[in-house]
Symmetry: C2
Subunit: 263 residues, 2 copies
């Protein structure tokens, strides 16, 4: 009778109690949480129930665990600020790509790896933004951004980025070559001496947030309980023509977004 009048299931009580300790700071990032056997005794529950409680916190992104090691309170990795807005030209003036300059300003060292550069038909979401029929030929540059780790540390994958260009414009240019473009693609597009030479005057960024798919988890090394943002950035010139569409997948544990908007 009435030992548990509130009807809170044991696994939930375990999750709630541990979560409270984490949020309150009693368990700090990096701390070990009690072992499953200790939790069994503390809550008088079976191992399966303890594990279920712990699983809740894992899927909330609050703890990490792996075989053989103690489970620990998740440490937030270094967060990189993804800033968009009036700072764009200033960052670009460094001669680096916007992304790399932003990273450098934060004392980080960004790098891009080419996954592939191909000619391919436009998927629906891309065609829509280019205002062309789905399937229209596009030059696609698929990159992976990584943040270089400190001496002896591993690199951190930061995002997957597919950059789309109208094949009628980009074919035959360096955009269609499988090597990095110094200064970034935007500088290449805008270069008045270059084959395109059109100035970007507006970006539209569409963000959509969800849990990652398995291939994203694998390519970006995303822990359980971490969402991703899909960011589709369309670049326009003053005539309203679309110059570039970036389709990126960004893990939300290592990124914060900042938008500066003048009205």
């Amino acid at each position: 009778m009435s030992t548990n009048p509130s009807k809170v299931p044991p696994f939930k009580r375990i999750a709630d109690e541990l979560r409270a300790e984490i949020i309150r700071g009693d368990l700090a990032p990096g701390d070990r949480i009690p072992s499953q056997e200790q939790l069994e005794q503390r809550f008088g529950a079976s191992r399966a129930t303890v594990r279920k409680g712990v699983a809740v916190l894992r899927s909330e992104g609050l703890i990490t665990s792996s075989q053989g090691r103690h489970s620990t309170v998740r440490e937030r990795p270094n967060v990189s600020l993804r800033q968009t807005g009036s700072i764009y030209r200033a960052r670009r003036a460094t001669g680096e790509s916007n992304y790399n300059a932003e990273a450098r300003a934060q004392g980080q060292n960004a790098q891009q790896e080419i996954r592939e550069v191909v000619e391919a038909p436009a998927p629906d979401a891309i065609a829509e933004r280019f205002r062309v029929a789905p399937g229209t030929p596009m030059v696609v540059r698929r990159l992976r951004f990584v943040m270089k780790g400190a001496e002896g540390e591993a690199d951190t994958p930061m995002q997957l980025c597919d950059a789309y260009y109208d094949a009628a414009v980009a074919a035959g240019t360096r955009l269609a070559e499988a090597r990095l473009i110094k200064g970034g693609t935007n500088a290449f597009i805008e270069n008045p001496e270059g084959p395109i030479g059109r100035r970007i005057t507006q970006f539209i960024e569409d963000l959509d947030v969800r849990m990652p798919y398995p291939h994203e988890v694998e390519q970006l090394d995303i822990p359980i309980g971490v969402p991703v943002a899909r960011v589709i950035r369309t670049a326009y010139d003053s005539a309203g023509d679309v110059l570039e569409v970036l389709d990126s997948i960004v893990p939300c544990d290592r990124h914060a977004f900042r938008y500066v908007i003048d009205v």
Copy 2:
């Protein structure tokens, strides 16, 4: 032997196979997934294992389940576009708040409820943006935004929003009263006949994405596997003074974000 040379655990196979069917579209949103008993037979696994596989998909936000009913593929609720940028003044010109005008333009009917209006010390994140000491007195308007459902349908909670104002400026004005302000707080702040009369010229929005806390789950009715964005929006006037800071929690299953940036 070698019945399972790939070493993929059964619960993972179950999750992978069902996920593939969902992504491929064989199982469409709203469709029932096979019952746990059917899955036991199909995969030759115990109920616990089946449940574990299904739990993976639940925490990925792909399916929903509740007692007594079949589990189904999650249907995405109507997504509301949260648009920020050059459209701001146009929306405001309708005489409604920016948010309500945006909703109306999408054929939706937004509404605000006041949770409370109090004077309270500034939390760190807010003080930082106001460039004042933590604990400085603030007027705080805590609202909850809902989208009115169709005839006979339930309303959908859309966000929690805490609006902060310097108490030295806002105390004694309608901002400190526990009732809604027609046309929105920004119009009130900018009204040249009003007590403040300062024009907003810039917004900075900071987005941070994570899994929700239990109180957010409860107040916003957030399903398992759905992340939230914490959006902190700071409004400046041309002198660089901070006029307002909004601290919002936004469930990512009913929102898409769009930023229009002129460079």
